[in-house]
Symmetry: C2
Subunit: 402 residues, 2 copies
Amino acid sequence: MLIVQKYGGTSMGGCERIENVAQRVIQALDHHKCGLVVVVSAMSGQTDTLLEYAHFFSSLPNTREVDMLLSSGERVSSALLAIALESKGIKAISLSGRGAGIITENTHTKARIKYIDTNHIQKLLQEGYVVVVAGFQGISEEGEVTTLGRGGSDLSAVALAGALHADLCEIYTDVDGIYTTDPRIESKAKKIDKISYDEMLELASMGAKVLLNRSVELAKKLKVKLVSRSSFSASEGTLITDEEDIMEKPIVSGVALDKNQARVSIADVLDRPGIAAEIFSTLAEANINVDMIVQTIGRDGKTDIDFTIPQTEVELAKKVLECFKNDVQSIEYDCDIAKVSIVGVGMKSHSGVASIAFKAMAKENINIMMIATSEIKISMIVNIKYAELAVRTLHDVYALDK
Amino acid sequence: MLIVQKYGGTSMGGCERIENVAQRVIQALDHHKCGLVVVVSAMSGQTDTLLEYAHFFSSLPNTREVDMLLSSGERVSSALLAIALESKGIKAISLSGRGAGIITENTHTKARIKYIDTNHIQKLLQEGYVVVVAGFQGISEEGEVTTLGRGGSDLSAVALAGALHADLCEIYTDVDGIYTTDPRIESKAKKIDKISYDEMLELASMGAKVLLNRSVELAKKLKVKLVSRSSFSASEGTLITDEEDIMEKPIVSGVALDKNQARVSIADVLDRPGIAAEIFSTLAEANINVDMIVQTIGRDGKTDIDFTIPQTEVELAKKVLECFKNDVQSIEYDCDIAKVSIVGVGMKSHSGVASIAFKAMAKENINIMMIATSEIKISMIVNIKYAELAVRTLHDVYALDK
């Protein structure tokens, strides 16, 4: 049996916490009698400090050098954990991204993993070592140090678990796992025991603090069973796995809230062929991520288009959409909205899920401004003042606290 | 033309100082129109902080992991200097010990350099890069990260200068160069412009803060011209080179003082064959470094032996010499002594150098307790209360302030 564990920056934040991680590793060894690969992030704050140094000299520091700089943070934490384990009599060895055979593209600060040469790690595991791997980093085929971008250590862990055919990949943070909704909004929110990759991806806005979609997508592709759990508690955490591994498929697994959306309403668009395509390709060229799109059927040769974009990109959108001002009656931007979504694989086989949501919202007098659905998700745009109420209402109507 | 520069931890201590180093590098480029390899230490304090972390877990942390840990300090400072240079429009690139091709023995925390594969650096220099090398580190032939021990970055610089046949190796610290004696003792002490390797080695106690003997010895072996200078002033520094490169050979170049000596006086040693050898081999086995030895010719089958050892090893010496108590009348230990030395290559061809010293000391009523001479050095043991007076007297009598 082989387990890959990953400890984030908060878990590694200081010597006492690294000591705690060492204890966790020893518990896992005692409990599972298994091979262990432990991927670590830099001690919390380290990466920011190093970036501050770099920005002292340049607002756009050379990315090759930034990678050389940042990769040192995980080298430090991995060596410290190996020292901590050794001091407790555990045979342990730290490896840099290079040592772990993590080969990436030659794109600095956001390289993608091409493949992992597991020979060295396999050998060390056979020799009985706990292998501690510096996360977030790799090397290009030219031998240059690269880093994997935000959430990079999670990616290192998932990719290693895939390449080593590990039985489990445990991602340790300071959060117990995935909840049915944000417990700060709904105190009755419950930790989910099992959830499918696809549900997890749709709950991204909820899980972002815990797991980035990049890692979940990779886990899904490589069929790596993920566990999201806390390094500060004994709680079992949440298993994120293939839908087929989940016996009881809940109709609704969770309620997600995203307050970083803005609605763009374009009224009376001339209904000439291709105009919608022009608008959206203009936005795409400006790298503006369009989420929900609703187009009403046109009358009198005109049509209305509503869509949502991240709030942070509203100013940019205003600029690039300026060129359409003669083709439309008006373009309005509304930042006072929130997106509330219910997610569940059970929706595929159950009808009437949406109508329960709409009725519950209506009962609370919450006006739904836009609706978008996918196979396992229903998203609704509401006025931001109703955001929390909407979350609690939906959490309640689907009995997620039971 | 090629110059290797090395900047120590104080010179690299913080972003402002790294900015200053970048300016220095640019000045050198402007002035010499030469190729430049810049070796850097970790930012001051970094190595100590990392060691403290390691010692949190263990008083004897695994040395392989310590090397992984410590080597990160120079990776950080080298990347930052490269970023600083790039931001000023200088083509620069940082290399780890591995990148620089520094191959060492596989002995952690104090590896010796075996050879340097200069291919990669040569290529980068030809492409017009300023090559910034992380000092203090290398890799073993097995690919493991190693460090070179105390003064390791100086060694990296000297070894690189030798392997690259550099014209000069400049060692930057916070000191202007080598002085005729410690300016804190004799304010008339003068900076020396040129000094031979051998004199530098004999002045070690004076130069220890500036250059370790390990580096000077390597420079001598590789025929690397060393310059000791300050990164905080425009002063020219001191050139340390082959004796043959020095036209005017001064009779006395400098006066050194060592207060970390203790005298051991063994009285009435039974003059049986081999007893002196037994005493000194016993000390050697205990790793006690014996410096000056004076043995008086025996009378009545007995002899007196006086020698000096580092003060820090007196307690150990007492323990290991205990076994000789029946062979000798007494063993006395005197820590209130100092070693004053005059050093100069000119002594080889001048007679009467010693007698000038002895006369000057006598005139000041300084009793000389022991004397030892080599081709280019005369060392005298005096009571510690006369240490500074002796230094000033000798500095004066050889007119070193002129």
